[in-house]
């Protein structure tokens, strides 16, 4: 699969702060690529450099193997994390205005249906709810039939229904062969939507692979969770590595089936049993730590 985008040794310095530090990665054509990281990791800055919104301090960005040209803006769609529209325009007028900015725009009726904008077409932009505004912003990002779509924390502030709706749209876009680059704080979202993810911290890419391979390489196996009261035996006699988390005992095993059999043989009460399978959040926390970020 060809790379639609290559980022080479990208750096961005704001005063004394190095927001992006020698970041390099490549995005294959037709996939959903996630850029993950804690607050202030440099995700949005990296996105905006790639989008040609801000200039890098150093480094190269290649689109389809070449430096970006003026036509780049005709081929990309962007949903920013924070942006604004003309307040006094209606949703329909906003769509129409943006449609006229492109040479090969999407059919508005299709776009309106896809992003579920019909009920709010006559509403003014400043009267939209958070979810409605996000849907409009997504529609604007898709209005030029972009080949490469950037979504910067698209589900922030959305209720579960709206988030699911957004995910469906993203999967539809991907099914059409478009490439998506997104940032998100939701590991569930990244795992559900992204074919590849890169994890950033302090401006650098610290991991980059498919979610499954990242989990495999950074997590040891599944865990069985049971309340401490379920054990009528000395915990040191257990044939597992274990640790205590409050009043819960966490048993670590690479083979869940064998582990459960062992527990049954030991006559352990499994009524309140829970199994934790490692996920992207474990990878993320393992790599970036659990300390709070601003």
């Amino acid at each position: 699969m060809n790379h639609i985008l290559e980022v080479r040794k990208l750096s961005k310095v704001f005063g004394r702060n190095k927001a992006v530090n020698d970041a390099s990665f490549a995005v294959k054509d037709g996939i959903c690529f996630g850029l993950l990281g804690p607050n202030g990791a440099g995700k949005s800055t990296t996105m905006e450099i790639i989008e040609d919104i801000i200039a890098p301090s150093s480094g190269d960005i290649l689109y389809k193997g070449l430096p970006r040209k003026a036509s780049f803006r005709e081929e990309i769609g962007i949903q920013f994390q924070r942006t604004s529209l003309l307040n006094f325009l209606s949703v329909a007028e906003t769509l129409s205005s943006f449609q006229q900015l492109y040479q090969n725009p999407e059919d508005l009726d299709l776009l309106i249906e896809r992003c579920d904008l019909t009920p709010i077409l006559t509403r003014r932009n400043d009267q939209l709810s958070g979810g409605q505004l996000q849907r409009l912003m997504l529609a604007l990002a898709l209005i030029n039939r972009p080949h490469l779509v950037f979504l910067d924390e698209p589900s922030t502030g959305l209720d579960p229904q709206s988030r699911r709706n957004l995910w469906d749209i993203v999967l539809q876009i991907k099914a059409e062969g478009k490439t998506i680059i997104m940032t998100t704080h939701s590991m569930e979202e990244a795992e559900y939507l992204c074919d590849e993810v890169a994890i950033m911290d302090a401006g650098s890419i610290i991991a980059w692979d498919t979610p499954a391979r990242l989990i495999q390489s950074h997590c040891q196996g599944s865990s069985i969770l049971l309340p401490e009261a379920a054990f009528k035996m000395n915990l040191d006699d257990l044939p597992f590595q274990w640790k205590r988390r409050d009043k819960t005992i966490v048993l670590e095993t690479s083979q869940i089936h064998e582990g459960l059999n062992t527990l049954l043989q030991l006559n352990i009460d499994l009524t309140e049993l829970a199994v934790h399978t490692p996920n992207l959040e474990d990878v993320f926390l393992g790599l970036t730590g659990k300390g709070l970020r601003d």
Binding site: I54, I76, R82, T83, F88
Partner: protein
């Protein structure tokens, strides 16, 4: 330059402006109120330029009955105000509330002036002249012949121009900074729209609005004051159009990079206030120092008003104001080029 993209921004901005009822209404109300206000002060009746205090006096008639010369009482541009006592009158004089204080019952015409008041000096000369009998006067009065131009006729283009200046600088400059600050410009940067297309659309949208405003305000004011235009309306519209373009483009330069509304507000004030005072909106700069007159020429409003007054008051044709038109076009081209070069979409 892609005209389709520019048109999209032009119509979007127009929609926005026409729906912002408060701003829209104020654009008509402000110049109209100023014109009506000044018309009532200067146009409808004779304006009293100098204020003369009289004491002691229960009423004007009673106060003036004794010793105030008849020629002074009948003098034009004088307003007489009675004070109960000399102390009260002196206080008003000290604070420049009146220009001259007169003891209305004094046989030797005692009067007081404030040495630091230019108006006081002139009022004193008028008073002293009124004491000289008409037969002893050495000068011969001659009247200017021709069409009389009322002060309101002279002032009217100035107020329209001033409104145009404020609307152009603030309506374009301030709005662009606000869009930059709230991220609306950043969203547009993600599209193929170029700075020149965007700025041209902003400028044309504002000039469209300004010309529309001028027509409405003109009609409304004309119904009250019957303004006379000695030149052609077409030439007048053209000079206002070019003046509006140059002022809008100047606003775009001032807003090319700012992100702080407060700072931009300061810059706009720094430019608009000197321009208002030096561009002959309210008074002529005739007789002022040469450097002041030269400085005034850097402002587009000066050339707009010079041209507009020539057409309106002197009956000048387009050929007569071609110099002003050319200067306004040059200012527009230079400013728009600078604005497009300096323009920043995001913070």
């Amino acid at each position: 330059m892609n005209f389709k993209r520019m048109w999209a921004m032009f119509t979007a901005r127009n929609h926005e402006f026409f729906r912002d009822r408060a701003a829209f209404g104020w654009n008509f109300a402000f110049p109209f109120l100023i014109i009506v206000g000044f018309g009532l002060i200067f146009g409808a009746k004779e304006h009293n330029q100098f204020k003369i205090g009289l004491f002691p006096g229960e009423s004007r008639q009673a106060g003036m009955a004794n010793t105030v010369p008849a020629a002074f009482q009948q003098g034009r541009y004088l307003q007489f105000i009675n004070f109960a006592s000399q102390v009260e009158g002196e206080q008003k004089l000290q604070h420049h509330k009146i220009d001259l204080l007169l003891d209305s019952r004094s046989p030797d015409h005692r009067y007081w002036i404030n040495d630091s008041s230019p108006n006081g000096y002139i009022a004193e000369q008028i008073f002293l002249a009124s004491l000289v009998p008409a037969s002893e006067k050495l000068a011969t009065k001659q009247l200017v012949r021709g069409v009389q131009i009322r002060y309101i006729d002279w002032l009217f283009p100035g107020i329209l121009g001033m409104n145009m200046m404020f609307s152009a600088l603030w309506g374009v400059g301030y709005v662009v900074v606000r869009y930059r600050k709230n991220g609306a410009l950043k969203r547009l940067k993600a599209t193929p729209l170029t700075p020149l297309e965007y700025l041209s659309a902003q400028m044309l949208s504002r000039i469209f609005l300004l010309m529309f405003t001028i027509v409405i305000v003109w009609i409304g004011s004309h119904l009250i004051f019957k303004f006379q235009v000695h030149g052609s309306y077409g030439a007048l519209a053209l000079i206002f159009f070019l003046g509006g373009l140059s002022l809008c483009s100047m606003g775009l330069v001032l807003a090319a990079r700012g992100t702080s509304e407060e700072f931009t507000s300061g810059i706009l004030n720094f430019v608009s206030w000197p321009m208002m005072f030096l561009s002959e909106v309210w008074f002529s700069l005739e007789g002022s120092p040469v450097w002041v007159q030269t400085l005034a020429k850097i402002f587009p409003l000066t050339h707009l008003l010079t041209g507009a007054r020539k057409i309106m008051n002197e009956g000048a044709s387009l050929v007569d104001v071609q110099r002003e038109c050319l200067i306004l076009v040059i200012i527009t081209i230079i400013s728009l080029t600078i604005a497009a070069r300096l323009f920043s979409w995001n913070k």
